[in-house]
Symmetry: C2
C-alpha cells in the first residue's frame, strides 16, 4: 500500500524578487515526500553526498517517510542554483552541479519493491524505466519529466510513457513533447501513447486532468505573494499521489479530489523559501485550502423552462 | 431594463493558421450584441460608413438588438486586419483604418438613456466618460479597455474606472495598468480605484472574478480547434452582462453564473471565423456548454474525522 518516490535530494540556492536562500533542502523527491507524507507513508529512494546535512531530513522521517533507500555516497551532493524574475513563472538556472547524482543508479530496496503507488520524479527516463524493472506490481505508476529529457532522451521517454498510468507534465513540456500548442490535443496525443491519465500543470494558471472520458480543471490558488516557485510541481505530485494512496482508489471522483489536494500542496510550497512552508503546515490548513478551492469554483446551473440541453 | 452597448462596428480581415476571412462583420459592439441578445434585448450605439453591408446585421435585429442608435455616416467603415500565429493568444495587427470611427462621438438616443445595464466597449475613455454623462441611472456600468488607452489616456481611463461598477480587462492589460504582475494584487489595486467587481480575462486560461469578498474562477473551455480568437472578449462581456440583465440581479451567485455564461459565449465565438458561430448558435447549446463547465470544475470535499478546518 505504500508510496514510493525515486528522484533527487538536493541543495538549492534560490534568488527571487523577495530574497535569497543558500543551500536549502531541495530536490524532487524531497518536495514530493514532504507533501505526500501528510496523506500516507512514503518510501524515498535517492542519493546524497557526504556533505549533505542529513539531520535536516529528520522532519520527513518523523512524518512517516522511510529514508532507508537514501544512499549516502562519497562526494558532493546535487546542487542547483537558480533565479526567478518578477513573473515567477520560470527559473533561470545559474548552476547545476550533479555531484554524486551523476552516477545515481536507483537500487530499490527489497522492502520497497511491493510499493503500490510509484512516483518517478524528473530523472533520466532510462533510470525511470530501470526502476519499473525493480518494482513488482504497482497499482499506479506516475512520472514527471523535463525539457532536457524531451530533447535528448525522447525515445526512452516515450518507452517510459507506454508503461506509465499517469503523466504529470507542465504545459511547456507537453507542447514541446507533442509539437502541438493546443493542450487538449497534446494530452490526447500523449494518452494514445500510454498514460490513461494526463495531468498538465500550468503554474499560476492551475492544472488540468485528462482522463479518457473527462477533463477537470483546478485553478491556480490566487496568492498575493509567491515567494519561491521551486518544488511546486513536486509538491503537487506529492499531494496528488499521497491522496490517492490514502483513499486507495483511482476512481474518477478521487482523481478530481487528488488534483485539488495536489494544487493545495503546490500552493503552500511556494509561500516561503524551500521546504519551509511544507514543514510547518497542518492538515487543518490543507483542508481549509481545499475548501477555498471549492468556493472559488462552485456555481449552480439550472436549465430554464423549455430549454433541453 | 435594457442593455446598452457603445462600441465599434467594423469589418475584419483575419488570418489564422486555419485560414483567412476578408471583411467579415466585426467590432466590439457587434460581438457583444450577438452574444448578449441570447439573454436580453440590446440597444446598440455605434457608427458605420456608407460602404457597410448593413443588411448583414439583420440577424441582430431579428434577435432583439435595437440598431436605431447605429449612425450611418458618409465615408469608409472601420476596418481592422490582423493575424494570429499558432499560439492564437494575441493578434498581430496588420492594418487599422478608422474611417468614420475616427470622428465617432457617441450620441445616446433618448429612448436608450434609461438603460439599466451599460457596456462601454473598448473605445477612447473620454468617449466612454461622455456616454456616462448621457445615461440617466444605470443599475450597472461595465467597461473594457485596451493597451493603447492605458498608455495614452491613462488619466481619463482612471477617471472612467472611478465610475464603473465592473471592469472587464485582460491579464496583460491589468498588469500594464497597475504595474503589478500578480493578478490578485492588481485586481485589488483596481478595486480601490472604483469598480466593485473586476473580471480578468486570461484567454485560454479562463477568467477570474474579483468581488470585495470572493474570487471565482472559470477555466478556458478546452477546444481542440480555436479558429479565430477575434471577439472572444466582447462575446464574453455580452454573455456576462446579458445574463445579469436577464436575471436582473448582481447577487454573488448570479455574478458567478454570469462568468460562466460569459465564458461559454467566448468559447463559441472562437469556434469559427468572425460571428459565424454566434449566428447559428442555440440556447440549448449554450446551456449544454454551461453544464460542461460545471462538470469540468465540480468536486466534493469532506473533512476527515477529527480535522477541523
Amino acid at each position: 500500500m505504500s508510496v514510493l518516490v525515486v528522484g533527487s535530494v538536493a541543495l538549492d540556492t534560490v534568488e527571487t524578487p523577495f530574497g535569497r536562500v543558500r543551500e536549502t533542502l531541495g530536490g524532487s523527491a524531497t518536495y514530493f515526500s514532504a507533501a505526500a507524507s501528510f496523506f500516507h507513508e512514503v518510501q524515498l529512494v535517492g542519493i546524497v553526498g557526504s556533505d549533505y546535512p542529513v539531520g535536516s531530513l529528520k522532519f520527513l522521517a518523523e512524518r512517516g517517510v522511510d529514508l532507508s533507500g537514501l544512499v549516502h555516497a562519497e562526494g558532493e551532493s546535487f546542487r542547483w542554483s537558480g533565479f526567478y524574475g518578477y513573473d515567477l513563472n520560470s527559473a533561470e538556472t545559474r548552476e547545476t552541479r550533479l555531484g554524486v547524482f551523476a552516477d545515481f543508479r536507483p537500487r530499490i530496496p527489497d522492502a520497497f519493491r511491493d510499493a503500490d503507488w510509484v512516483f518517478l520524479a524528473n530523472i533520466d527516463p532510462e533510470l525511470q524505466l530501470d526502476v519499473l524493472e525493480q518494482v513488482r506490481a504497482p497499482k499506479l505508476v506516475a512520472c514527471d519529466t523535463m525539457n532536457f529529457w524531451i530533447e535528448w532522451k525522447r525515445d526512452a521517454l516515450l518507452r517510459l510513457l507506454e508503461r506509465a498510468d499517469v503523466a504529470l507534465i507542465n504545459d511547456g513540456e507537453i507542447r514541446k513533447l507533442t509539437g502541438d500548442h493546443n493542450l487538449t490535443r497534446a494530452a490526447r496525443w500523449l494518452q494514445e501513447r500510454g498514460p490513461e491519465v494526463v495531468v498538465v500543470k500550468k503554474g499560476e494558471h492551475g492544472a488540468m486532468l485528462f482522463t479518457r472520458e473527462t477533463i477537470f480543471f483546478v485553478p491556480g490558488y490566487p496568492l498575493e505573494e509567491i515567494f519561491d516557485p521551486t518544488g511546486a510541481g513536486d509538491a503537487f505530485a506529492g499531494g496528488f499521489l499521497g491522496y490517492l494512496a490514502q483513499v486507495g482508489s483511482t476512481e474518477p471522483e478521487e482523481l478530481r479530489r487528488a488534483m485539488v489536494f495536489g494544487s493545495a500542496m503546490g500552493s503552500f510550497a511556494v509561500e516561503r523559501f524551500g521546504l519551509d512552508r511544507l514543514k510547518d503546515l497542518s492538515l487543518e490548513e490543507i483542508h481549509a485550502r481545499v475548501r477555498s478551492f471549492k468556493e472559488m469554483t462552485s456555481f449552480e446551473h439550472t436549465l430554464p423552462a423549455g430549454v433541453h440541453a
